[in-house]
C-alpha cells in the first residue's frame, strides 16, 4: 500500500521529480511532439480501455466461478490439475496465443479479446482458489452448525473472508492485461498499440511515446482504482490494510 499512499515527504519528492521531468521534456520539444498525436490518443484510449474492460470482464466472469467450483467438494481433488491447465495460458507466449487466436477467429478485436482472456484468467482463478482455501475450516463448521445453507456459507462467510486475496488476483490480472493490450494491434485489435508499433515501424520515437506513455498511465490508474476498491470494499474486520 506504500506505493498508493506514500508519506507526505515522499509525495513531495515525487511531484518535484515529475515536474523536473516535464520541464526537461518540454525543453527538448518532446511534449509538443507528443501533443501532435493528441487526437489519436483521444481516439485510441477508449478503444484500449474497451479491450481491457471486455477481456477483463470476461476473464473475471469465467475465473471467479471457476475458482469457486474448484474449491467445492466433488471437484476438489482435480483442482491442481485444472489450475495447471489454466496455467498454460500464462506459459505460452502472448504473441503465440494471439497468433493462434487469429488463425481460428480471424483478424480483429474478437481474437485479441480471446487472447487477453486466456492470459488474464490464471491470476484470477489462482487467487480465488487460494483465497477460498485460506478461509479457516472452523469458520465453515461454525456457519454450518448455526444452520447456514451451502450458498449462505459461500456468500456470507467464504467469499467475504477470501475477498482480499481474490481482489489482489484481479489487480494483478488487470495490470498484465493493460500492459498486453498494445499487442492486440498486431492482429488488428486496435488500441494504443497502433501508435507504439507504427512509431517503431516509422522510426518515430515521439509517436511511440505518444502510445507508450498513456499505456503506462492507464496501467497505473487502473491499479490505483482496484487498490482503492480493495481498501474500501472489504470490511474492516478482514482487511489487512485498515
Amino acid at each position: 500500500m506504500a506505493a498508493v499512499f506514500p508519506s507526505s515527504a515522499m509525495r513531495l519528492l515525487l511531484l518535484a521529480a515529475a515536474f523536473a521531468l516535464g520541464a526537461y521534456l518540454q525543453a527538448r520539444g518532446v511534449l509538443p511532439g507528443i501533443m501532435r498525436y493528441w487526437s489519436d490518443i483521444v481516439y485510441l484510449t477508449p478503444q484500449h480501455l474497451e479491450l481491457v474492460a471486455i477481456s477483463g470482464g470476461i476473464a473475471t466472469a469465467i475465473g471467479i466461478p471457476l475458482g469457486i467450483v474448484l474449491t467445492r467438494g466433488p471437484v476438489r481433488p482435480y483442482a491442481n490439475a485444472i489450475t495447471q491447465f489454466v496455467n498454460l495460458g500464462t506459459t505460452i507466449p502472448t504473441l503465440a496465443i494471439l497468433a493462434l487466436a487469429m488463425s481460428v477467429l480471424g483478424i480483429g478485436a474478437p481474437s485479441a479479446i480471446f487472447g487477453l482472456v486466456v492470459l488474464t484468467l490464471l491470476p484470477i482463478v489462482l487467487n480465488t482458489v487460494a483465497g477460498l482455501r485460506m478461509v479457516p475450516a472452523h469458520l465453515v463448521e461454525a456457519a454450518r452448525g448455526m444452520g447456514m445453507t451451502s450458498a449462505q456459507i459461500l456468500f456470507r462467510v467464504e467469499i467475504p473472508n477470501a475477498l482480499f486475496v481474490m481482489l489482489a488476483g484481479l489487480r494483478t490480472a488487470l495490470a498484465i492485461n493493460v500492459g498486453t493490450v498494445p499487442l492486440a494491434f498486431l492482429i488488428g485489435g486496435g488500441g494504443l498499440g497502433e501508435l507504439i508499433f507504427t512509431g517503431i515501424d516509422l522510426m518515430e520515437p515521439t509517436m511511440l511515446l505518444a502510445g507508450a506513455i498513456p499505456t503506462g498511465i492507464l496501467a497505473i490508474l487502473i491499479d490505483l482504482l482496484v487498490g482503492q476498491c480493495q481498501y474500501w470494499l472489504i470490511p474492516r474486520g478482514v482487511n489487512p490494510l485498515r
Partner: protein, 367 residues
C-alpha cells in the same frame, strides 16, 4: 430433553461411536467426557446432524431429528466451538445476530437483543457491538461466541470444548459467568470436555466415553465416589475424593445452630455451654450475631471475668456459599481443624470441622 437411542457411527472401518444410549433431561448440563478419540465430539455432532449417524435415533423433545430438515434443526440448536468461529468479516453485533437474521427476525428486535446479551457477559454494548472480532481478546471473543449461540433463544445448546483455548484464569471467570447465565436460562446443554475439573464444576450429569462406548453416566458425585471401572477411576484421578469437595457447599456440610456466647457473658457461662455441647471452644458473637472471636475451654476453665476480656481471634471464617474445597484449603493454611461459617452479612451460621467433612465424604462409600 435430548434422547439418544442406540446411536452408532462408523467411519470406514472405525467404530467411532458404538451403540450409545443417553438421555439428557431438560435444563441439565451434560458433559461428555473422555480422552481424545473416544467419540464424545462425534456423539455431540450427531445431535445437530453435522455428522449423520450410521444407525440409531436421536430425539429432541420427543421429535426425531432425522425427520427435521437439517438447516431448520441447526437453527434451533445453539452451537459453540473451541476455535470460537466468530466471522471476522462481521462486527460483534452482526455475529450475534447471525441466526436471528437467518430466521428472519425483525432487525430492531435482534439488535436490541444483541446488546442485552453482551451485557449479560459483562461486555459493554456501547464499546463492543461495533467492534470486529480481531479487536477483541480471546476471552472476550469466547464470551461473544457463547452469547451468539444464545441469540435466537434455542432450547438446546451444543458446546465443543468451548473454554479449552482460554487461559486458566479467564477460563474460571467465563465458566462462572456461563453457570450464572445457565442458572437463569436453564437450557439443555451438551458440553464436550476432556477436563475432569471443568466437568465436575459445570455438569449436572457426566457421561464418560471410551473407544466410542458410553462407560458411565451419572451425577458428578456418583462418578467421583463410585467410578464404574478402573478406567473411569483412573480418568477422574486418584484425587477424585478431593474433587468431590468442590461439589458440596459449606452450608450443606456445616453444623447448624451452633452454641455461641455474647461478649458480656461470663466465662462460667461459656464453660458451662461448652461442657453442655461437649466442645473445647466456643464462638463469641456481637450483639446482632456477627462472629467476633472465640474462647477455648482450657483457657477459660477456673477463670473469672467477661468473655470479651479473654476473647481470641477465630482460626478462620468461611462463607456458607463457598465449597468445601476452599474450606479444607483454608483449614490447612491456617492449621485449624474447624472454621466458623458466616453469611453475606457476617452473621455466625454454623461451623465445619475436618472430622465432619471426613464423615460426610465417607458416608457415600459406606452405603
Amino acid at each position: 430433553m435430548i434422547r439418544l437411542e442406540h446411536v452408532t457411527k462408523i467411519f470406514g472401518s472405525v467404530m467411532a461411536v458404538d451403540g450409545v444410549d443417553l438421555e439428557v433431561p431438560t435444563g441439565a448440563v451434560c458433559v461428555l467426557l473422555g480422552p481424545s478419540g473416544c467419540g464424545k465430539t462425534t456423539t455431540m455432532k450427531m445431535i445437530n446432524r453435522l455428522i449423520p449417524p450410521t444407525s440409531g435415533k436421536i430425539f429432541i423433545d420427543g421429535r426425531d431429528t432425522a425427520e427435521t430438515d437439517e438447516v431448520t434443526l441447526r437453527r434451533s440448536i445453539g452451537y459453540v466451538i473451541q476455535q470460537i468461529g466468530l466471522f471476522p468479516n462481521k462486527t460483534v453485533e452482526e455475529n450475534i445476530c447471525v441466526v436471528p437474521d437467518l430466521l428472519g427476525w425483525d432487525r430492531r428486535k435482534s439488535r436490541a437483543r444483541a446488546a442485552d446479551l453482551l451485557s449479560l457477559v459483562n461486555l459493554d454494548p456501547a464499546i463492543f457491538l461495533k467492534r470486529y472480532p480481531k479487536e477483541l481478546s480471546g476471552g472476550q471473543q469466547q464470551r461473544v461466541g457463547v452469547v451468539r449461540a444464545l441469540a435466537a433463544d434455542p432450547p438446546v445448546l451444543l458446546m465443543d470444548e468451548p473454554f479449552g483455548a482460554i487461559d486458566p484464569i479467564n477460563r474460571e471467570v467465563i465458566q462462572d459467568e456461563f453457570m450464572k447465565i445457565q442458572a437463569e436460562l436453564k437450557k439443555t446443554v451438551v458440553f464436550v470436555s476432556h477436563d475432569i475439573d471443568e466437568a465436575v464444576k459445570m455438569a449436572s450429569r457426566i457421561a464418560i466415553f471410551r473407544d466410542g462406548r458410553l462407560i458411565q453416566y451419572g451425577t458428578p458425585d456418583t462418578i467421583l465416589a463410585h467410578p464404574a471401572d478402573p478406567f473411569v477411576a483412573d480418568f477422574v484421578g486418584k484425587d477424585r475424593t478431593l474433587k468431590r469437595l468442590r461439589l458440596i457447599k459449606v452450608r450443606d456440610a456445616m453444623m447448624k445452630d451452633p452454641p455461641k456466647v455474647l461478649g458480656e457473658d461470663t466465662l462460667e457461662t461459656a464453660v458451662a455451654r461448652m461442657r453442655e455441647h461437649g466442645h473445647i471452644s466456643i464462638v463469641m458473637v456481637g450483639p446482632r450475631g456477627r462472629a467476633r472471636g472465640m474462647i477455648r475451654l482450657d483457657e477459660a476453665q477456673g477463670r473469672k471475668g467477661a468473655v470479651s476480656e479473654h476473647v481470641e481471634p477465630l482460626p478462620g471464617v468461611i462463607h456458607i456459599d463457598d465449597d468445601l474445597r476452599n474450606a479444607v484449603s483454608m483449614m490447612f493454611s491456617h492449621g485449624a481443624n474447624w472454621l466458623a461459617c458466616v453469611d453475606n452479612d457476617g452473621f455466625y451460621k454454623g461451623y465445619v470441622t475436618q472430622r465432619g467433612i471426613t464423615q460426610l465424604l465417607g458416608a457415600s462409600y459406606r452405603d
